[in-house]
């Protein structure tokens, strides 16, 4: 009985922490909060991976990255091979590594996580992407020979960039039309610098351009040209025109001065660099008492932005409890560390203005949680007579938005949902018109970056099939 069994890999239950700026430092700047793994830590963390024969993590990834594959490269110290592995299915690893809700996706499925803490897949993805950038030389994947097919993409956000990347690699001639003056969509105007530095977005966009994708900024499809005008020139169109008009609560006082949609507030700061006013021309208000209404990532971003703009007190007003906050737990913790005050189980019912039309206070109701509602979360119920008034000199409304109306308004024959989104087939991303595909927020309303990228991946495959079948 001398036969030796191969030693089973011992589970290392503790994930390696990633260095961050301390809260007292970071509230005074707009620099990135999380600093990334140093090389040694990355290799240590990667070594925790069990290299499962039948990995589950992949299944949790909306774009199907070969996760054990790229982790193995890190363990072996071949970071270049790691990033190449990711880029087989994901054009934007530095972005996804930072803003994907991994705890709900790949890391949720991780087998290590059944007994200990799941592997930090997102941080490792970020690590290899940043490593590649620091080498100053970006690997370009193998490109298929030219097909001669022309595809137009509406919007240079996460969905559009993903489609562009996939289709250009497959040999198609790809042109992206972007309405704003910068590429990146929500990555540029929505997600703050301290969570996703804009140089990283620019870097990833430059990468896709280096593959041969043409991008026109300041071009509003639906206005400058309609989808049907473009179809005279292009064989297929993907619409990733993103978020549209912000939702408000439909309570009195929402048009008072000092009341901002999160879209406006964040666009002023991120896209227009209002935090550097007057060096940049777009001003942003710097009020001292700010209420942010909502509980998602956009609400966290708005609250943490208000802190950095020097507010004395920032309150996050949310009608359910902490458990139901839709934001990533990491961002909730960051916000708490930075001093955001969470007014939970609180519902604004009225905004009150001064004689000059500026907000001065917010009337709220206390809530309690009842039975679960259709979303599976416990339904908040107002406590009668619990009204109270809190003074604020600004409010940011971060309760979501509808899909952008421009393409639905100007494209006849496109099936539109009740909520204003473009209706698509879940398997293909194809719309009710055979040569038009769509994905991301224009279909889903307000969703995540990675779900937009997942939509893009599916649509790109379907567009490719369509173009090749047409001969």
């Amino acid at each position: 009985m001398s036969e030796e069994k191969p030693e089973k890999k011992k589970l290392d239950p503790k994930r390696r922490s990633m260095p961050k700026q301390t809260p007292w430092e970071r509230v005074k700047n707009f620099e990135e909060v999380a600093l990334g793994y140093p090389v040694e830590t990355a290799v240590e963390e990667a070594s925790r991976c069990l290299q499962c024969k039948k990995p589950l993590c992949n299944q949790g990834c909306p774009v199907g990255i070969d996760i054990p594959g790229f982790i193995k490269c890190i363990v072996e110290g071949d970071f270049g091979a790691g990033v190449k592995k990711i880029k087989e299915t994901n054009a934007l690893p530095a972005i996804c590594g930072r803003v994907c809700p991994q705890e709900e996706q790949c890391e949720k499925m991780c087998v290590v996580g059944k007994k200990g803490e799941s592997l930090s897949i997102g941080r490792l993805e970020r690590f290899v992407a940043d490593w590649e950038a620091s080498q100053g030389k970006i690997e370009v994947p193998d490109m298929a020979s030219k097909t001669g097919k022309k595809v137009a993409i509406v919007g240079a956000g996460p969905a559009g960039i993903t489609v562009a990347n996939d289709l250009v690699i497959l040999g198609h001639d790809v042109t992206v039309f972007e309405a704003l003056h910068e590429c990146g969509g929500v990555l540029m105007y929505g997600i703050p610098e301290f969570r996703l530095p804009k140089r990283i977005v620019n870097r990833e966009v430059e990468y896709v351009k280096s593959l041969g994708v043409k991008i026109y900024t300041d071009f509003v499809v639906g206005k400058t040209r309609t989808v049907d005008q473009l179809l005279k020139e292009f064989d297929a169109i993907f619409v990733g025109s993103g978020a549209g008009l912000p939702w408000f609560m439909e309570i009195p006082g929402e048009n008072l001065n000092g009341v901002f949609s999160a879209n406006e507030y964040l666009t002023r700061v991120n896209l227009m660099k209002g935090f550097r006013f007057p060096e940049y021309d777009t001003p942003v208000k710097r009020p001292s008492r700010v209420a942010v209404v909502g509980g998602g990532n956009v609400a966290m971003d708005s609250a943490r932005t208000a802190i950095r703009l020097g507010a004395d007190e920032v309150h996050l007003v949310y009608r359910r409890s902490r458990t139901e906050l839709p934001a990533r737990i990491e961002e909730v913790e960051n916000a708490e560390e930075e001093g955001v005050i969470f007014d939970l189980l609180t519902l604004p019912v009225r905004l009150v203005g001064d004689e000059r039309g500026w907000i001065k206070e917010m009337e709220c109701l206390r809530m309690e949680l009842g039975e679960p509602d259709s979303s599976g979360r416990r339904k908040p119920i107002a406590v009668e007579g619990s009204n109270f008034i809190v003074p604020f000199d600004a409010a940011v409304i971060a309760i979501g938005n509808s899909p952008n109306p421009l393409i639905p308004m100007t494209t006849p024959g496109l099936e539109i949902s009740k909520k204003g989104g473009i209706v698509t087939s879940a398997e293909t991303g194809q719309t009710s018109r055979p040569d038009i595909w769509a994905g991301g927020d224009i279909v889903r309303g307000a969703a995540t970056v990675i779900s937009a990228m997942g939509d893009g991946r599916i649509a790109a495959a379907s567009i490719h099939k369509y173009l090749m079948n047409r001969g």
Partner: protein, 278 residues
């Protein structure tokens, strides 16, 4: 992509004629549309109403007033210079139909932007009465252009140096004495003018369309800063407008919102710091 300035000249004191080479915009622009302009790489995005275009030359013209920092930057541009952003056409175009007798009232930069409206209405077979309003005759412009597209052109100046002496309050009387009852009134101009005209025409029952000019950022239906109350409902000027029924607008709210960034944008330009000498 940089956009070339073809012309930028002060047409009357503080108002600038601004023509930019932007073929894609020129090809699809219509009366009532606006563009978003960024004067330089640190500049903000500001909406400008469109006053004319030349589709074959690929150029678009606006009249703008120098008010704050961004328009000051635009006012310093010379032909041949470039700007980084010029995007459009944005907003819904003014509805052009066969209405009968249409009154087109323009003031300030709006004399420019109502010109293509008057032209299109005339081409559509309407009887067009154009009224140009300014404080004094030296602030009026483009009268020759209006004569070509209008059945009659009236001027109103505060000091009486041209046309009728007074202000837009005199319009009902002016039209009455000329025997004119408009089927539709369209106003392009400063907020006060559009508000005042809406107040004047309401008791007369004259349907009045105004071309709203709120603060905007993206101008494409995303940021929500251009919201206003129309018939008690929240509307967004960039995608629902900019044309609205003047009788349905909450003007007080609109005026307050329009001024909300004056402390940052306009007031610093008006301060001389002379007091610091004492």
């Amino acid at each position: 992509m940089p956009y070339k300035i073809v012309e930028r000249r002060m047409i009357v004191p503080n108002l600038h004629e601004f023509t930019v080479e932007a073929p894609a915009v020129a090809e699809s622009i219509k009366p009532g549309n606006f563009v978003i302009v960024r004067p330089d790489d640190h500049g903000e995005r500001i909406p400008l109403s469109v006053a004319d275009w030349d589709r074959s030359a690929g150029t678009v013209t606006s009249i703008f007033m120098q008010v704050g920092g961004s328009t000051a930057k635009l006012a310093r541009l010379k032909p041949g210079d470039t700007i980084p952003t010029y995007v459009g056409p944005l907003g819904k175009e003014t509805v052009i139909g066969r209405f009968g007798a249409v009154l087109c009232l323009g003031g300030c930069y709006g004399i420019g932007s109502i010109y293509p409206v008057a032209r299109a209405l005339k081409e559509a077979g309407n009887t067009v009465y154009s009224i140009l309003e300014a404080r004094s005759s030296f602030l009026l412009y483009w009268e020759d252009k209006f004569h070509k597209v209008s059945d009659r052109v009236f001027a109103i100046t505060r000091d009486g140096t041209k046309g009728r002496k007074g202000h837009i309050g005199q319009i009902p009387e002016l039209l009455q004495s000329a025997g004119i009852v408009p089927d539709l009134t369209i106003v392009n101009g400063c907020t006060f003018q559009m508000m005042r005209m809406s107040q004047i025409t309401r008791p007369l029952g004259w349907k009045t369309i105004v071309n709203m000019n709120p603060i905007m950022i993206d101008g494409t239906g995303m940021c929500g800063v251009c919201r206003l109350s129309v018939a008690g409902k929240m509307k967004f000027a960039c995608v629902d407008g900019p044309d609205f029924d003047g009788h349905e607008i909450d003007w007080e709210e609109f005026l307050a919102r329009r001024k909300s960034y004056n402390p940052e944008e306009v007031d610093p330009l008006r301060h001389s710091s002379c007091r610091s000498h004492f």
